[in-house]
């Protein structure tokens, strides 16, 4: 099966279908790739290292792969994950088949699906201009439906408030969790991202999915345009050709800054274009996490 592109996903109705399609793609991709497959399969295994308990060696796996693997206990693999969705108005920008918010919904839904499938607990925090909406993390299959339903109902609204979201999450998350943030990170406050990254300092595992529209990356406008803000009353009339170079420099510097900041904070960072294959995004993410776990 080919990786799912945005055009294909846009033809599917609802987050559930889209997320499921992405997950199928991910699982299919994992199955096809021995390395990736092992990564997911071995979610319950660990390659033997000196010091590991010999009695936990998986002899079946040895017979199959001629390598030593250590079986892990059930309670050790249980992951507590919180999926944070930026529902600000800027996330509603769409130049192609999918808006940034739709991509964020699909990715977070697919990730929730994978988590629950692995008996991990998945929770949801939606940040919109109207405030925060939380679903506590649970591993039950029924909870997944709640998460997906909640995602379905998110509409872009208000300004991006990463600052508030960080404080809210710090207050809500009581144990070590995987916090996956799906946002365009368009918060004018300089310290907003760092505030989010503070969650990492509190022993949480943090993953940032920065979702951008291709038009935001390439600024493909020619004619004089009146740009309107999607979150407030700002507006500006410019000749895009005149400022294109400057815009690309500014935006490139912003992305580079985010990437650098995340790297410095030891946080997984994934730049997601709304026109790219989302299963590839998730596979990339999972592979990176597997690498980190080693």
């Amino acid at each position: 099966m080919e990786l799912l592109n945005a055009q294909t996903l846009s033809k599917l109705a609802g987050v559930k279908l889209r997320a499921r399609a992405v997950v199928d793609g991910v699982l299919s991709g994992l199955h096809k790739s021995p390395h990736q497959g092992q990564s997911v399969e071995f979610a319950e295994h660990k390659e033997y290292a000196p010091g590991d308990e010999i009695r936990h060696l998986d002899w079946k796996a040895f017979g199959k792969f001629d390598k030593y693997y250590i079986k892990r206990f059930e309670h050790e693999t249980n992951l507590h994950a919180v999926l944070v969705l930026d529902g600000s108005a800027s996330m509603g920008y769409q130049s192609g088949a999918l808006s940034k918010l739709e991509v964020a919904k699909i990715l977070s839904g697919a990730l929730a699906y994978l988590l629950v499938r692995q008996q991990d607990a998945a929770g949801l925090a939606v940040v919109t201009g109207e405030g925060f909406k939380d679903l506590p993390a649970r591993a039950a299959a029924g909870h997944l439906r709640l998460v997906l339903d909640e995602l379905e109902g998110v509409v872009p609204l208000g300004t991006t408030d990463l600052f508030g979201a960080a404080d809210h999450l710090a207050e809500k998350i009581s144990r070590r969790s995987l916090v996956a943030v799906f946002s365009d990170l368009f918060d004018d406050r300089q310290e907003a991202l760092k505030r989010i990254l503070h969650l990492r300092a509190r022993k949480n595992d943090l993953a940032i999915f920065q979702i951008v529209d291709p038009a935001e990356l390439t600024f493909p406008f020619d004619d004089p345009t009146l740009f309107l803000s999607m979150e407030d009353e700002r507006r500006i009339e410019v000749n895009p050709r005149e400022i294109k170079q400057s815009y690309l420099e500014e935006f490139g510097a912003f992305l580079k800054g985010v990437r650098t900041t995340c790297a410095e904070a030891d946080v997984d960072y994934e730049l997601v274009r709304t026109d790219e294959s989302l299963d590839a995004v998730l596979l990339r993410f999972l592979a990176r996490r597997q690498e980190r776990r080693r």
Partner: protein, 702 residues
Amino acid sequence: MTFAHPWMLLGALAALIPLLIHLFDRRRPRPHPFGAISFVLRSQRRTASRLRLRRLLLYLLRTAILIALPVALARPELRRNAQIASVVRGPAATSIIIDASLSMRYRDGGTTLFERGREQARDALRDLLPDEPANVLICAPGALAPASPSFDRGQLRSMIDSAKPTFGSVDINRCLDMAARSLEENPMPGKRLVLISDLTANALHLNLPPPTLEGPNGERLVPEVVIRDAAAGKQSLPNRAVVDLRIDPALQLGPRAFQFTFTVRNFSPEPVHDLEASLKLMGQVVAKGFLDIPANGAAQKSLSYRFTSGGVFPGEVVISGDNLAADDQRAFIVNVPKELRALIVNGQPNTVRYRDEAFFVEAALSAPGSPVREITKDAEAAFHDSFDQYELILLLNVSAPGPEVSQRLVDFVRRGGGLLISLGDHVEPDLYNKQLAELLPLPLRMIKTAVDPEEPDADKKAAKIGKISVDHPIFSLFTGQAREGLMSARFYRYMLLEPAPGGNPGNGAPVVLATFEDGAPAVAIARRGQGRVLLYTSTVDRDWADFAIRTSFLPLMQRFSAFLSGSLEEREDIKARVGESVSLSSPGHEVVASVRSPSGATLPVRALDEGRFLVGPTEEPGVHQVQDADGRPLPDLAFAAVLDPSESDLARIKPDDLSAYFGEGSVKDSGPDSKQRRLPFWSWLIVAAAVAFFFEGVLLRE
């Protein structure tokens, strides 16, 4: 500033196009909600000032392009001459005088002074106000008064465009007077003369009164004089010129050898060393030499050449070129005597050489440089000889020949031969008159004895030559001391002739070229058919006269021979100076139909009386070829026109002298160089537009 095509300036209105586009073509921008508007705002803030500057630059560049192109097409010229501005520019009838003398051919910086002067004349024409009438006078040799001033600028401009420098000297004072008079009739109160010249001292004579003109009430008015110096900025115009050439036979080098002695003047304060000079004949260099000439001095050089055959040869003496090329050469025509075969019929041979009748004649004709190759025979042998192999027969004291020989002699002469008859004791007048009646210029009458040579005071009583025709080529040499040598000869005995009947020499009438003191003919000539007969009434030995031992005997005998063979007076030394007319005499009475200058131009020819023609005035130096009515060349009439040496002296008049001459109030010196004053800058506008176009492209690509 002036514009050649001012209507093109209307195109500059196109400069409004960018402004109009800016004002009226403001398209409504498309609204677009955009998530990353913060970055747009930041970018706009960052680039706002640069964009404003860029837009302003673009607007300025586009406007500059649209202004520069039509303004350039209008061909503007800036004038920044303070001296011009200082000229009182009241409206005035103007006459523009352009010096077209030889010196204006001087090359300076790749162009001639005349070219520069012509440009200055165009400037002067452009400087005129619209209500100023003008005329143009090209001051050439023989220039005519200009037409009345008019407003036909196109005609004046074409006059200036078609003007050419001459090779002659001009009288600028005369030209100024003519130009001033041409303004008299014009009702405009202001009168102005614009003189364009190199202001050499020989062109403008400051000892003559300055130009004036008659006012409406008969008063004398001094016109405003504007001088434009075609050689401005030059303290002096150094020049070298061949100013003189003398051609003499070089007897020491053998027959047909000539020595060309020429004088080269150095009109400059610097001496000249090793100046190459060459002698060219028929276009080929045949001799070369070098000269050292002191500053402002002259040097002579002689080059020699021996011709292999006789004839008329054109040639020139050439020195290394300088800025005035025309006077670096001097053309000439040299007449090289043809070799003459002469039969000397000795009527009184003698074993004692100096008593021999032909002794002195032989000596004269065989002298170095003589073109005559003679053979002497006694009468009996000579008369059995064939006359056809000779061009000349000399009957020296020969008894009258028989009828058959006489007839052969008549035939010989009529076919073009020359016959010299000298007399003596063997000549019987009656027999001569009978046998040679058809040939003798005048019939012989009787022998006259002035004195017996044996008498003690014979020298005093002897006859002498009384009168000679120095106009005739035979005697043209005998002037000054040479004449004395002829006149001092003593004649003891001579033949009297019958009186001359008168008539046209061309029809065979005799011409007496020399007479004794008593009026008796000494030398008489006559044309018989195609030939000539010369009768010398005394002896060519010492029996009747001592002329044979006189210094004038040798050249006279040679000239007798040359004349009789047709190679003497046929080549008259024609002196021709550029700018003057030339008088040509056609000895054979050929009709001179056309004369062509070295450049191929045809000169006017006017027939005078008795085979004389007036040609010219000549316009250029060099060899002029003459043709008859059938287009055949007449080489004997070809002539070389030479330049007036005074025009080679390019010493310039001092500005103070000019001011003193024309008066401080009327002289408005137009300044050093008109090219510096007039700044045609349309080409720079085109360049500026191209540069603006380039930068506009650069800005657009950013």
